[in-house]
Amino acid sequence: MKTTVKWALALLGLAFAVGFGLWAQSLFVKSELVHFSVNFPSDGRAETMSCCDLGGPWSRDRDPEWNDYAAGGVLAYGEEGAVVIDVGQQGLLKRFLQPNYISISTHWLRNVGTQPRQIRLAMEMCGWDLEWVTFERDWDEVAKISTRFIEPGDGYNMDWFFTIPAKERNQTTICEGQLDVYDAETDDLLTELPIKIVNSTAN
């Protein structure tokens, strides 16, 4: 095989990888398998310290005794604020095959404080049934508590699956839900994260 042909094929493979990756990422950040980071504690402020997108961690204010993350954030991409899932931006295949079954994930429930914490999670999504799935070994499914202490700088993982009622899909704002992170021992609210389901193409 001529060298020029080999290089052309290699560029073809490269272009395919880049193109597919950009397409997949555009879905990851907006509508399908949306991932986000959540940092706790937020030092008594009931504000979000989170960002959308794959990646993380992101820390707005660094605790003075914790040096691993620079104040102002180290994330390559993403924004602070509510997690927004826009079902109107779903890919064609998702919209055709399975439009109302939603998954959101955090692999970066990160302790940005200085003391180890056990956390309790609470999520409310407009009264919908939620399926909680994690690849953490130390998880109390009933109490929704991490049964291990999360060390400073360490993280925790959780995925959620739920179904949007079909009759509610055609609305600009379908649901405004929330994820709360509590200290499992003291029941202090460590941070809260708004999660919005919208449909930018609703009539």
């Binding site: 290699a10 073809l12 493979g13 990888a17 990756g21 990851f28 399908e32 890919g91 998702k94």
Partner: protein, 298 residues
Amino acid sequence: MYPKAYRTLRRHWFYRILAFLAGIVLLYAPFALLTRLILWASGSPLLPDAHRICMRMPVQWLAQPWMYGTMLEQPAYLVVILVLPGIALFAGPLFCGWLCPAGGLTEYLSRIVPPRFQIDLGGRVNPVPIRYGFTVGMMVASFIGGNVCCSFCNFTHTQNIISAVFGDFTGIAYWASFSVVSFALWFVVLGIFTKGGRGWCNFLCPAGALQGLTHSLGRWLRLGRSVQIERTRCSGCKECLSLCPTWAISEKEDVLEVNAHACNVCMDCTQVCNRNAIAYRPNKGTAPQRAPETAGAN
């Protein structure tokens, strides 16, 4: 309906399928015995499954030095960039050809589909440049906001299938657009409807690309072993070429040769050659290649 060579290969495939099942037991939930060992030794709090020994992200991270610390902290990530290429340097991509459940699943299922229904690219397409280009593209994509690791992962599909077999349908229940595309490519188009069943492996697997690279390096450095053709014995029947699942055997100026970048040392070819012309031989001391004698002289 099926090539006669399939009968010759039955015994060999029996051993390969045993190894394939061992790969599932070692790496995939609900067993994942090797993964459990690594997680226990490293003190990881995570549940064992195919994602813990990730075969894609560490390859991408080779281009991201700031991730090297993560890989050292979680040694399971070192399997695909150190252990498997290290083995391939001396013995070839034995993981690919024998253990990998993702590649093995499509290969063995493809043998059930009659060849006339399959895309036959053996001897016609050299997949190696495309696979290297794809692997580099995976690294490039991460710098410009693309994601090819998780969105294009056939190992996840394999884990989801195996989990479903054992009653956990979580993985197969959710369909993302990119998951549907990657599944269709891996399992259907480049899988069971491609002759050999290894189209995905040949074109799109970064783990295979890395192992192919070190395998060819090992051959060039005359280290270890590789599948080679003794040209003085070869009659040019091309039985090996027609069977090779990775299209590693090609004909160049009437001479058959094995491309070490593509070969996964499954050794199916060595079983069907009735002249012992193709064999898994030491690279050191390989006889100089000579032009074959004319047909009939052997």
